[in-house]
Subunit: 77 residues, 12 copies
Amino acid sequence: MSMDHTYKVVELVGSSSEGLQQAIENAVNRAGQTLRGLDWFEVKEIRGNIQEGNIAWYQVKVGIGFRVLDPADLHRE
Amino acid sequence: MSMDHTYKVVELVGSSSEGLQQAIENAVNRAGQTLRGLDWFEVKEIRGNIQEGNIAWYQVKVGIGFRVLDPADLHRE
Amino acid sequence: MSMDHTYKVVELVGSSSEGLQQAIENAVNRAGQTLRGLDWFEVKEIRGNIQEGNIAWYQVKVGIGFRVLDPADLHRE
Amino acid sequence: MSMDHTYKVVELVGSSSEGLQQAIENAVNRAGQTLRGLDWFEVKEIRGNIQEGNIAWYQVKVGIGFRVLDPADLHRE
Amino acid sequence: MSMDHTYKVVELVGSSSEGLQQAIENAVNRAGQTLRGLDWFEVKEIRGNIQEGNIAWYQVKVGIGFRVLDPADLHRE
Amino acid sequence: MSMDHTYKVVELVGSSSEGLQQAIENAVNRAGQTLRGLDWFEVKEIRGNIQEGNIAWYQVKVGIGFRVLDPADLHRE
Amino acid sequence: MSMDHTYKVVELVGSSSEGLQQAIENAVNRAGQTLRGLDWFEVKEIRGNIQEGNIAWYQVKVGIGFRVLDPADLHRE
Amino acid sequence: MSMDHTYKVVELVGSSSEGLQQAIENAVNRAGQTLRGLDWFEVKEIRGNIQEGNIAWYQVKVGIGFRVLDPADLHRE
Amino acid sequence: MSMDHTYKVVELVGSSSEGLQQAIENAVNRAGQTLRGLDWFEVKEIRGNIQEGNIAWYQVKVGIGFRVLDPADLHRE
Amino acid sequence: MSMDHTYKVVELVGSSSEGLQQAIENAVNRAGQTLRGLDWFEVKEIRGNIQEGNIAWYQVKVGIGFRVLDPADLHRE
Amino acid sequence: MSMDHTYKVVELVGSSSEGLQQAIENAVNRAGQTLRGLDWFEVKEIRGNIQEGNIAWYQVKVGIGFRVLDPADLHRE
Amino acid sequence: MSMDHTYKVVELVGSSSEGLQQAIENAVNRAGQTLRGLDWFEVKEIRGNIQEGNIAWYQVKVGIGFRVLDPADLHRE
C-alpha cells in the first residue's frame, strides 16, 4: 500500500545568469537528472554574484523533496 | 478624520504554472475581486510542486494588507 | 480549468485536555464544520495551560489552508 | 461543556500618530467592535511612517485571538 | 582513537495517517534500514494533509544525525 | 491587590522513552514538585536520541512559566 | 581583578494594566528586589490579555542579565 | 519620472532615559538632522541598561529607510 | 597582498513596477553608480504596493556587499 | 531507574578579553563551580565590547544544560 | 561552458576536543576526503558536550557546498 | 549632557585565512581606522571559502556599533 511514504529533502543551489526563476529551475532540473519521484521544492535563500556593477549570477538555495521508493533511494542524491 | 486607520492582513497562497511572479499576482488579483482597499503585500514563502522532474506549480504564500473602511469589512476575506 | 488555484490560510488555536494531537485535530475539525476544500495544516506553536501542577490544556496554533473555490469563499473563515 | 475551545487569530495593523501603545489599542478596539470573545493579543511587528523627518504614524501588526463560540463565528473577522 | 567524530545530518519527511509521533518514527525507521550509526533526530516542521475535512496524513520533517564511520559512509543517505 | 503579577520562565528538557507528549509532561511534573504557581508551558525544541536504529528517548525543551508570589520565589527553580 | 565577568540571564514576564512600558519596568523592579548587579534587559515578546474587548494586561517577556559576583549568586533567581 | 525609487536603510540605536518611545523618536530625529527623504522605520530590537536596579536607558535598534534622491545620497548616512 | 579583505554590506530597497527581478536589479544598479567593488547581494524581504487591486510596485530589500579597497571607501554608501 | 531524566537549561554570558572560545569556557567553568551534572552547552549569541578601536571583551551567551538529580537541584543555578 | 553551475549543500557536524575552530575544520576535512569541488561552508549551530564540569567536545553543525560536476556527483555525500 | 546617545550600526564582513577570531578582529580593526567611538560588535554570520578541500578564508559578518558624536558622523562608514 502507498500509505506512510517517506520523503528525503536535498539542498541544492541553482545558479543562472538569466534570472531568479531560471536559477530555481536549473536546480530542480539537475536533481531530476538522477532522482526519481521529485515531489516539491522550497526556496530557502536568494543571493547572487555581482561583476562590474551588474548581476552576473543569481544563486538560489532550494530544498527539493522526493519520495523514497525503496531503501536504495536513500543512497541517492 | 481619516487618521489612525486599521488594516487587516490575510494570508493567501497563489499558484501558477507560469512562474513565481505570476503566482504572487494571482493571489493579489484574487483578493482584489472581493476586497476593497488593498494596500500592500509581503511574500512569506516560495514553494512549488514538481511533476515528472519539472516544476508544475509555483506556490507563493503572500500576506495581503487592506484598509478596514468600516466594521463590516472585518468580516471580509 | 482547475489550474492556478488560490488558497487561503487561517490561523486557529485548538485546545484539548487530552493531548497535543487531539488539540491539532480539534482545530482542523472545527474548521471543517464551516469551510469547504480544506487542504493542509501546519503547526506553528505548541503551548498549554498548567493547573495544580499538571497540564490542563494543550493549545496548538495551526495554520489551515483551504482552496478558494469562488469569490464568496474569501468571506469565509 | 466548555472544554476544548477553539480560538481564531486574526492579524490587524493598528496605526496611531500618538504612539506605539495607542496603535496597539486601536487595533484591539477595532476588532472589539465586531468580534465577541476577544482573548489575547501578540505584537508581531513595530513599524511606522516618517514625514518631514518626524514620525507621522506608528503602525503595529498585532495578532488577536478570540474564542470561536459557534460555527458562525468562523466567518467573522 | 574514537575522538573527533564527524556526523552527517540528513533531512527526511516521515508521514503517517495514525499520528504525529508515528510520522517521526517512520522517518527514523526508514533511515535505520540503510544507515549505520544513527545518533539523534530533531523535529523541524510539523505539517499534514487534510481530506474531506479530516487529517489524512501527518508529515513531519526530521533532521537525522548519524556518525560517519568511514569515508564510504559519506556516500550513504 | 493581585494586579501586575510577575512570572518567571524556566527552561527544562523533559525526556521519555514512551513518547513526545510524555516527555513534555515529565518536564512539567518535575517542575511541579518544587515550584508553586505553575501557569503555562511552551514547547521550544523537539529532539531525541536514537539507539540501534530506534528512538530511545524523546527530549523536549519546554519553557515553563510560574507566578512569582513573593521575592523568595525568585530563588526557586 | 574585575576582568572576565560572568552574567546570568533570567527570563521574567512582567504584566501591567497601565501599559507596555510599565510591564517592562515591573519585571525589572521585581528582579531588583532580590538580585544584585542587574546590568541589562532585552524584550523578547509583547503580548497581552483582552477582557470585554479592551486590553486588560500587557504581558512582556524580558530577559534580565545580572553579574554573577560570587558562586552563591548562581543560586539566585 | 519618479518611478522605480531606490531607498537606503540605515540602522541606528536610539537611547532614552525616559522611555521606549522616546528612544525610537531620538533615533529618527537624529537621522532627520542630516538625511533628506526619510520614509519609514522598523523596530528591530528593544533592550536597555539597568543601574541600581532601575532602568537607566532604553536602547532601541531601528532601521530607517530614506529615498535615494541622487547618487550623492548614497554617501549619506 | 590581497588577503584578508574587508567587505561592507549596505541595505537598499529597490522598487519596480515591472516585477520582482527588476526591483532587485534596480537596487544593484543604483549601488553600482557610486560604489566600486560590488561583490554579492542577498535578498532579505519581498514586499510591494497595491493600487486599485493591482500590484503597483515591487519593493525588494537587498543587502549588497562590496570590497573596502581603502579606508576612504568606508565613507561610501 | 535512570530513565526519563529531566534537564534544566540556564543562560549565562561568559566574557573574556582573550577570545571567543575562552569566553565560552569561562561561562561553562563558572557554572561548574556550583552545579552538578553539567551535560551540554549551546552558543546563542556572540557579541563583544570595543574600546579604543580594539575588541576589549568577547561576550558569549551560552545555554548550559544539566541533569536535575533531585528536586533540590531545581533551586540551583 | 561553465555557466549555470549547480551546487549541493550537505550538513555535517564536526567535533573536536581542542576547540571550536578545529571542529569546523574537522567537518570540512572529512568532507574533502570523498567529495570534489568543495566551495564554501556556513556555520549553523555551535554546541558541545560537558564532562566533569569541563567542555569535552565542541560540536559544530556546518553546511558545506560543493559543485555538482556531473550527475554522478549527485549521489555523493 | 551625555544622555540620550545615538549609535549607528554598520555591517562589515571580515575575512582571514588564519581563523574565525582573526576575521572578526580584522573587521573591527578596519572600522577603527576611520570611525571614532566604536562601542560594540555582534557576530551575525560565520561562513568561509574552501579551496582544494581546505578552508581558505573565514568570512564573518559583524555588526559594529559606534556612537554618533555629531551630525557629521552620520555620513561616516
